[in-house]
């Protein structure tokens, strides 16, 4: 089956079944046309196919007359920061983020590494559909340069915005699983400069992923297992391009990606006045609302994905925004889903307020369940539409922002066709574990049956 998702933030697909080079060079041609031949920063994660796509990008950008600033392997948010420092007209990160190694993709960014809004992304897709791209004469081709010291520049930028003395004074020992992704390029130096002792797991930039590069609780078993034996203060897991991050407590409990946003809300708002705004996607759980309420902040719900979140963060001048997948942007740092920046903020919290276990305990207790049901593309949309009809008939509150969110008296559920994979994602929250289990099973059965038809 062809597995390809083209959207207004870029493209993602299976490398041998959908993401062909012709498509990639055409999309990059459209992007180069959109930024009118300005300089473009290019970065990649560590997966084996990223080098292949990087070569295709360099060719396509050069052919379009764009100067190429090649940052090599680095996290997406680091590339965004470097694009900002160099005032690049655009940036492209070659990564499939949390997808496994058979996938890859491109994340497209605007001037200074800014996340594109959906209208801008739509303009690029229009150019792509029109199929006529900018072409430079042989003597006006874009020059290709390597950018040096990208990580140092990023650390200079990040570390002036955090409480590094507080962190250093605490003498923390930290376990991090980078899944052999782009984070491996940054973590050792980041920890050295923070005065933190790093216990690295899968922290070589080899692209050999020991597990799916998504820091879900189930993928962080290795971190969880060694927390107590090595007496680490806190643990983290990162996605292949460090967009997503999640925390593991000193007692070896992985909190999962949905806990990242509420933890970040707590850390960002603890030293700020009331009246702040937080953006959370409609698929994130009620802990965000509860933690925000503790700090007198309001929550605005967005659609799913970095673009939807970031549009509202800008519009609402929010302190932060994020989603249950573990992607969080902190306005105090920069407008990027930056797992490394979030990790440093959580280190501040651990340093200032005691143990990571206490930090986790301070979050409200909820009962959240999530499943994925494989589906062909058309079938997925039909299944979600059917859930919507049922909810409407039952006179529940239905929000159509992105997929459907159905709010119930003591909980909610959410179903959506994935933006990046051929699956329907379902999430539900209930007041008890039993009811959450029951609800998710029921939803899974219904979607599965609908997809089969």
């Amino acid at each position: 089956m062809l597995q390809l998702k083209v959207g207004t933030t870029g493209v993602r697909g299976k490398v041998d079944q959908g993401l062909d080079l012709g498509l990639v060079v055409d999309l990059v041609g459209a992007f180069a046309t959109w930024i009118d031949g300005g300089p473009v920063l290019v970065a990649r994660d560590t997966r084996p196919s990223s080098t292949m796509l990087e070569h295709a990008l360099l060719s396509a950008l050069s052919a379009a007359g764009c100067e190429v600033l090649n940052a090599g392997i680095c996290p997406t948010a680091v590339a965004q920061a470097e694009a900002s420092r160099l005032s690049a007209a655009g940036a492209i990160s070659v990564t499939a983020s949390h997808n496994d190694a058979s996938w890859n993709g491109l994340k497209l960014f605007g001037a200074g590494g800014r996340v594109l809004n959906s209208a801008e992304g739509g303009e690029i897709l229009d150019l792509w559909h029109q199929g006529e791209y900018r072409r430079a004469r042989f003597d006006k081709l874009g020059a290709i340069h390597d950018v040096e010291d990208v990580v140092d520049h990023y650390l200079d930028f990040l570390l002036q915005l955090v409480r590094r003395e507080d962190i250093a004074r605490a003498g923390l020992r930290v376990v991090v699983d980078a899944c052999n992704g782009a984070g491996a390029m940054v973590l050792p130096e980041l920890c050295r400069r923070l005065g933190v002792e790093l216990i690295p797991i899968s922290c070589e930039p080899t692209g050999q992923f020991p597990h799916a590069p998504d820091p879900t609780a189930s993928n962080l078993g290795q971190v969880a297992a060694i927390m107590q034996p090595v007496k680490a203060a806190v643990g983290f897991g990162l996605s292949s391009d460090c967009e997503r991050v999640s925390m593991v407590t000193d007692r070896g409990v992985p909190l999962g990606t949905p806990a990242t946003l509420p933890l970040a809300v707590q850390s960002e708002l603890s030293s700020r006045d009331a009246g702040q705004t937080v953006v959370a996607s409609i698929a994130s759980d009620s802990r965000v609302d509860q933690v925000a309420a503790r700090h007198g902040a309001s929550v605005v719900r967005s659609g799913v994905g970095i673009q939807a979140v970031m549009e509202l963060v800008s519009l609402e001048h929010a302190a932060l925004g994020g989603e249950g997948s573990g992607g969080v942007a902190l306005s105090s740092i920069h407008l990027a889903f930056d797992g490394l920046a979030v990790m440093v903020r959580l280190l501040e919290q651990v340093a200032l307020h005691g143990s990571s276990d206490e930090l986790a305990q301070s979050l409200p207790q909820i009962h959240l369940r999530a499943v994925e049901v494989p589906s062909a593309v058309g079938a997925g949309y039909a299944a979600v539409a059917r859930l919507r009809e049922q909810a409407m008939r039952a006179e529940c509150t239905v929000t159509d922002l992105d997929g459907i969110r159905v709010d119930l008296e003591h909980g909610w559920y959410y179903a959506r066709v994935s933006h990046t994979e051929p699956v329907v994602r379902i999430i539900c929250e209930e007041q008890s574990a039993e009811r959450a289990d029951e609800r998710i099973q029921q939803l899974r059965r219904e979607v599965h049956a609908a997809v089969q038809e």
Binding site: V25, S49, K140
Partner: protein, 455 residues
């Protein structure tokens, strides 16, 4: 067909950057090639053209997609790339990113077998078939391999060239030479060769910048600056290359740029002085080579025009030397490809003996007059023309392997249709100009007759 500047053929793909030679087309062609030769290592080398990196990156992406490992040689003389393909046992093919003697806005992919030879007709047709079918081998994302780099090709090649000549004799002679590498792929390697031979070198175009200060084809009329430099610096010889450094041209010590046929005969002579054996040239090459072969008592084999044809015959007849008058000396003891470097070394070895100057050596050749013309004619009329000429010369010695070539006692005429343009090429050679013109006029008459009949 004005405006269409793209050619996909058995010799690869060639086009104009910014018009036809797009990254999408290049990756697709590289995917077809990777599907055909791979999976395995494929050497990728380029000349210095400004579009070289753009083209090379597209090729590397396409090769990776088919499970091949592209090995990037960077800027490299094409003979060094070809020798490297042949010398490495772990290589299944090669891609030369060069438009050779074409102007700077052009670029091209030339495709090599694992033995470092240009694909022959059969191989190239199979590749084109795969390209046109458009279904290529694709490896899963996790199995895409890592590109490699190889910076040893130039040294490998120079070592091979130097091992063929009398090093100490050349070094002792401290020869004074001028060189024009047209800022092409030979721009660094050629001065290296000359410095290893202790020459005193006057340099032109020795920056690998791809800025061609003259048309890259090393024709006598393009070598004014080199001729002036030879005279000004009192050099004993001037060497000129094309952009990928496979072709050579010579300027003698009197500042004369030698005609390609004169140079080829001279180089063949230098090889045969060292070793006797068969010689291969094409049917359009001057009879000066026959004169050389006869003096050395060796067999001369002629083939249709085209490097692939000459190479094939060299291998089949175990020849010691071959080439074409366009400037390509092929010296199979190193590798069966056009190689300007061995040509340079052989000339220097001769000059080191201080018997004759280069001009004296050239003047020792018999004088031949050649006329080379292109006549516009549609390709269907060209066929009629060839049949008419065959009838006209039915009682003469006729060779029909490449158009028609008629051999008289002291002269010959060849008429062949071009593969790329609606023209016929007419070549005439005779001992004096009057005879050459008479033969040329005879062909013109038939051409006019054929065109008159067609209305």
């Amino acid at each position: 067909m004005p405006g269409l500047r793209l050619k996909i053929s058995v010799s690869g793909v060639r086009g104009v950057v910014g018009e036809t030679l797009s990254p999408a087309l290049l990756t697709r062609f590289a995917e077809a090639f990777g599907t055909y030769v791979g999976p395995g290592r494929v050497l990728v080398g380029r000349d210095t053209r400004q579009s070289g990196p753009m083209v090379s990156h597209a090729v590397m992406a396409g090769l990776l997609s088919t499970g091949c490992v592209p090995v990037d040689l960077g800027v490299v003389p094409i003979p060094a790339l070809m020798l490297r393909c042949n010398g490495r046992s772990d290589v299944c093919g090669g891609v030369a990113v060069t438009a050779s003697h074409n102007p700077a806005e052009w670029n091209a992919l030339k495709l090599l077998s694992g033995q470092g030879l240009f694909l022959n007709q059969l191989q190239a047709r199979a590749l084109l078939d795969i390209y046109h079918q458009g279904t290529f081998r694709r490896v899963p994302g996790a199995e895409v391999l890592v590109p490699e780099y190889d910076d040893g090709a130039v040294e490998h090649h120079l070592d091979a060239v130097l091992s063929q000549v009398d090093l100490s004799a050349i070094r002792r002679a401290r020869l004074r030479v001028a060189v024009d590498c047209v800022n092409g792929a030979g721009a660094e390697a050629t001065p290296q060769l000359l410095s290893r031979l202790s020459c005193q070198v006057s340099r032109l175009g020795c920056q690998p910048s791809g800025h061609f200060h003259r048309p890259p084809e090393p024709l006598p009329e393009h070598l004014t600056s080199l001729r002036e430099m030879v005279l000004a610096d009192e050099a004993q010889v001037g060497f000129a290359q094309d952009a990928d450094a496979d072709r050579l041209a010579l300027v003698d010590n009197t500042g004369r740029a030698l005609d390609g046929d004169v140079m080829l005969a001279l180089l063949v002579d230098l090889v045969l002085r060292r070793q006797k054996g068969p010689v291969v040239v094409n049917l359009s090459t001057s009879s000066l080579v026959d004169w050389v072969a006869q003096r050395h008592g060796v067999e001369l084999i002629r083939t249709p025009v085209g490097e692939a044809n000459v190479v094939e015959a060299i291998l089949a007849h175990d020849a010691v030397v071959g080439g074409e008058s366009s400037g390509g000396l092929i010296f199979p003891a190193i590798h069966t490809c056009r190689d300007s470097f061995i040509g340079i070394a052989l000339v220097l070895e001769y000059l080191a003996r201080r018997e004759l100057t280069l001009a004296e050596l050239v003047d020792g050749q018999p004088r031949r007059e050649m006329i080379k013309e292109k006549l516009p004619i549609s390709s269907s009329l060209a066929r009629v023309l060839l049949v008419r000429l065959r009838d006209l010369f039915a009682h003469e010695k006729v060779d029909l392997r490449d158009g028609i070539k008629v051999q008289f006692d002291d002269s010959w005429v060849q008429v062949r249709a071009s593969n790329t343009e609606p023209v016929v090429r007419v070549l005439v050679e005779a001992g004096d100009l009057a005879r050459a013109r008479a033969l040329r006029d005879q062909v013109h008459e038939v051409v006019q007759q054929v065109q008159r009949e067609a209305g």
